[in-house]
Subunit: 478 residues, 2 copies
């Protein structure tokens, strides 16, 4: 029992020190390891298996909505990066520059892609001629690099994995529709697969993506009341098309510029899963992205037939769920802690008495509840339970988010709330960047988004008192 | 018809100019586009879909043989690359160096990974302590960069996609077994999925991977008689373990070094598919990796019920195969050429008369043969045909390979064969690197491998006439 206890107490209490709790979980759940490369992490098998499940399900949605995968070079020549003025200003300060190939200095520096708009535009200029070539609905799964000063596993790393959709359309209406469509894909995915509720809205001009006409975002709230930008979708209008000369001949034989979008989510979503659902025993995974949904732990393994029964159940249940059994010689208590740390949704315990009574014990990771279930109805019960856990995680996360969402009508309240009970703050805004800057300066909160669902909290801006234009979500963010 | 003709004649005759034929096919089948980045290509949706099918099937085999996927950083600090002497000598001349992050010069240069042995070793030194931690069976899907002077789509590009397996074992026997096991995985995969027969064998010391104790290879033969190294599997022994200090405590509580392997295949396999199976109408895809296995072309589309029937068949056949229909307003002849160029295994033609007779026409891409099939037995016939095409491609490729495999017992014959009828040459070798160098110098052929299946062609080395040690496969190679 000493070993069990050690394992359980080895992670920091999340209410005491949330950042340390997070660091403990990513390491002890075997999600990552630190590497010798500053700011870059190693995604270990368990962490990568989560990414693969997330990727597989999101990729199916992309394909079912008509998108095709491609692969672009990882390098961008400096001259290509410079073609769109706002874009290069936004990204040049944070890119990694390749200057030498082997012993030879390159004639032109190449940056490692921080994002691939410029490469897609260059390609689109090549392959789009006629309205028949539109729309182009491309996506790419890859890694990108942004030189970060302070990093944290999954949330902000120099290199990270992501997908980047890049589309080209005939009209402004179509590119706007695509931008919103993909934002909804992200938001539904977060809700249905990750059990994370999000606020959908538009970014203010200050927070807009470099080169975009409008940036839409999904914002989620972590257990500690800090916000996390969880996915973005950008409408570029014809700005990039003009910079790169991407034109098509329309039905009337006139040359027109295309209208473009891009949208992306990253391994940061794994950070969101950890910080939204995790608890003091470690990770809590939504069944939809849990690499192991049911772990089978034999009790009193030395007794006749126990290991065999565990193995029989593993092969039986593998037909309906991702199942593994642990028949290693570690103590059951150690195994309980281990799979709690790893966030496995259901633990199935089976021992000699259970076998005698034709039953097993199922323990839910999300509530800790234990139920005794007949072996005859195992499949039904496990499917029910996985659905119930998936649903419950979303309910809990929504309750937490709602209980930590506040309104403020003046800056004093605004700051008091943030300091005493961090969370989302809904507040009115005049539309002036000066007020946005002032609020950030004073409170450390950034504007998260102008939500699609507007509320009239007050008539006046929370900062300057002038007439308000929008209700915004604010928060301190990761 | 003018348009059809143009499309068909637009590719170079493969017997006239094979390299140009290859370039035509990769472009006209929409597999790739050239990019603004020297030596890097864009993999277009059709090309990437082939890679995804290849990747999915190979990944399932890796997982079923106990391997787990991880993700390592794309950068390697210079000091880490230098830890294993042979390895750095082999790769340093061809890596891309990152020297700046944003405006700031880095204290230590980072190279973009040309391969990740050093990163895996660094990680293994961290996570391997006891015999209980072994074996580690890791794999990674990613892109790597090697600065190449001359490049060709899929075959040799500065950046390419691949998988790299990296494993650590307790004993020399286990690492040798893993090396051979994965070579067999590759060889079976090439045969069963890509319909490409390969020669399995060991590389000579000269051709060995930088830092390996032994390198095994699968070698395939292209239509033009040139060889292609199609996959390699390396046994490192404990060389890297000693350089990186990867030790574990064995059951007797003694410190031991691990024994390691690595193995990889790349997007080069797509080049092999093109050059092994392609013909003068373009690509010919084995059904197992064809993004579209059956293309449905309506004939006399303006007639009542034809488009509807094509769509009905598409949805019906989607249950058993990857099917698409082309109901665009292009002429059937144009469509025939287009999908021949793209190597779609089966074309299904359906017109008013077919509908009247409750039949369709099926045309095989590999043989050109057309058969009339009743609509009532479509599923059975298509499954049969896909299997027959898959099998026939392997038979044809094997026949071609065998008919272009020669034996030589003296250098004059050796050179004559290569110049007149290029192919694999089997010839005896004394084991001396001087002879290997001399043969390359004189004939342009490199040693492909010491095949596992040895034959006694002669007693003496084809070059120096001294006593022979091995029979080798030789060839001019891509």
């Amino acid at each position: 029992m000493a070993k069990d206890k050690k394992l359980v107490t080895a992670i920091t209490d999340m209410e005491q020190d949330f950042p340390q709790w997070y660091t403990d979980v990513v390491k002890k759940a075997d999600l990552i390891d630190y590497s010798s490369v500053k700011g870059c992490m190693i995604i270990r098998p368990y962490g990568y298996a989560i990414w693969e499940l997330l990727q597989k399900q999101l990729d199916e949605i992309f394909k079912s909505t008509g998108h095709e995968n491609v692969y672009m070079p990882m390098f961008i020549p400096e001259s290509l990066l410079q073609k769109e003025k706002d874009h290069v200003e936004g990204f040049a300060p944070e890119v990694a520059w390749v200057t030498h190939g082997g012993e030879t200095q390159l004639q032109e520096r190449l940056c490692v892609r921080p994002t691939s708009e410029t490469l897609f535009c260059d390609h689109y200029a090549n392959i789009i001629q006629s309205y028949r070539d539109l729309p182009k609905l491309y996506n790419q799964w890859c890694s990108v690099v942004r030189w970060e000063k302070t990093t944290r596993p999954f949330l902000r790393t120099t290199e990270f994995l992501w997908q980047e959709g890049h589309t080209a359309h005939a009209t402004a209406e179509e590119s706007e529709a695509e931008t919103i469509k993909m934002l909804n894909v992200y938001s539904d995915f977060c809700r249905d697969i990750l059990a994370i509720p999000v606020i959908k809205g538009e970014k203010t001009e200050k927070e807009r993506f470099a080169g975009a006409k409008s940036t839409y975002t999904i914002e989620s709230l972590m257990h500690d009341g800090k916000a996390l930008q969880s996915g973005t979708s950008h409408n570029f209008g014809d700005g990039f098309a003009k910079a790169f000369g991407i034109q098509y001949t329309d039905k009337d034989n006139k040359l027109q510029y295309v209208h473009q979008t891009s949208w992306g989510v990253t391994t940061r979503l794994i950070g969101a899963i950890i910080m939204v659902h995790g608890d003091n025993s470690g990770l809590v995974l939504p069944p939809a992205i849990a690499p192991t949904q049911v772990v089978i732990i034999p009790i009193a393994m030395h007794k006749d037939g126990v290991v065999e029964k565990a193995q029989e159940l593993t092969s039986r249940l593998s037909k309906i769920a991702r199942v593994k059994s642990d028949v290693s010689d570690k103590a059951p208590g150690w195994k309980f802690s281990e799979y709690e740390m790893k966030g496995v949704p259901i633990r199935l315990e089976v021992g000699p008495k259970d076998i005698e009574n034709n039953q097993v014990v199922l323990a839910r990771r999300d509530t800790g509840e234990k139920i005794i279930v007949s072996m005859d109805e195992l499949e039904t019960k496990i499917e029910e339970l996985l659905n119930a856990i998936q649903a419950n995680l979303l309910v809990k996360a929504t309750q937490n988010r709602n209980s930590k969402t506040y309104s403020a009508t003046n800056l004093a309240d605004f700051e008091k709330i943030l300091n005493e009970t961090p969370g989302f703050i809904k507040a009115m805004w005049c539309g002036d960047k000066a007020c946005e800057d002032a609020i950030k300066e004073k409170t450390g909160a950034t504007s998260r988004c102008i939500p699609f669902e507007q509320e009239e909290i007050a008539d006046t801006c929370v900062c300057c008192g002038k007439k308000a234009k929008h209700m915004l979500y604010w928060g301190r963010a990761y």
